[in-house]
Symmetry: C2
Subunit: 211 residues, 2 copies
């Protein structure tokens, strides 16, 4: 059973931002998502595999919550959170190709999912934008590789690095797919993990789920 | 008088991220800064000018706090917060030129400052990366314009858009400079405000300060 959950979109009052406890800000960002590992939630955890660096404690179920969690489900072991945001590397032609092919999350047949939290090194974050783009796409073909697996694999990227709290990961990527595309998903993550971009990944955990 | 203030850099414990109230995350991001408008703080507010959209209430003083605010100064009217982050548009050659010329904030002679909170439109955020870069630099010369005023004007950019709470602005830029460079600062903001990039600015407030 999930705790009491609500999505707040703010209000028309100009002072809403500063209402309540101003240290918490006001409304919750509607782009915010929580992933709570424990004993409740729609997803059964099949495995938690440490790919690089420190792992995450094993749990039996995962709850995915959009908006605000007022109260955690009982026996929650860990919570990861992130916000969806604007693209950082995708160019116009790539955006067009992605929009033409990508599927929405939550299709009834998508009974497999993966949550892959990643942290990149400070060497990555210190690079200028043009060099990160070159590594990301011209060298590592991150966008082109993802495109090959559309629409079978649907995904949503959440950013954690610029949340106010210090988060253990920089990104959380959530994927869902039908069981018959499980091998395609292995191929996708396998292709990405041997790229130049992945040399900058200093922590990665791979959480597989079913419902 | 500022409230009790501390900077937390986390700990070595692997579970620190999930300690305390997991909804708040754990440690505070050391890249987090608060700007509290009220009756206390090192900076005297000279003016608060609404450039575009909704303004901010006038206050007499501004407190700039790095890290965590445990308690707000009494009579705080508003608090803005943001995190420093990686560059989003700067290329290697530009980064080199900036590093060669830029000065640190907080020079003793820098007795004037400005805080300029900005919110850009969803049309901006929906653009792919290459088009935002083209508007930002090839059309609007944002980096080149800033460079002309270095090292007289020092600056620090804070991002608010991807904080977990819904913030009223996307960016807070903090500038400081010596009084003899006040006209140079007017020229800088004047040049930027007539660019193509600024057509995407839907809210801007210009707060001028002295100490």
């Amino acid at each position: 059973m999930a705790g009491k959950i609500g999505i707040s979109y703010g209000s028309d009052s100009p002072m809403t931002e500063f209402g309540g406890n101003p240290l918490r800000g006001g409304a919750i960002n509607p782009r915010l998502f929580f992933f709570a590992g424990g004993v409740s939630g729609a997803w059964s955890v099949e495995s938690i595999n440490t790919v690089t660096g420190e792992g995450l404690p094993l749990v039996s179920r995962l709850d995915v919550v959009h908006g605000e969690i007022e109260k955690l489900p009982p026996k929650t072991e860990w919570v990861l959170k992130g916000v969806t945001s604007n693209v950082r590397y995708v160019a116009r032609a790539e955006q067009r190709a992605l929009l033409a092919r990508q599927a929405a999350l939550g299709r009834p047949e998508a009974r497999r999912a993966a949550l892959i939290p990643i942290k990149k090194s400070s060497a990555w974050w210190d690079l200028p934008q043009d060099e990160r783009r070159r590594i990301f796409e011209e060298s590592s073909h991150h966008i082109a590789t993802g495109l090959k697996y559309l629409p079978a694999i649907a995904r949503r990227l959440h950013h954690c690095r610029d949340l106010g709290d210090s988060e253990p990961f920089d990104f959380l990527t959530w994927f869902d797919y039908a069981p018959e595309h499980a091998q395609a998903f292995e191929d996708l993550v396998g292709e990405l993990r041997v790229t130049e971009e992945w040399k900058f990944v200093e922590r990665e955990v791979d959480i597989r789920l079913a419902r």
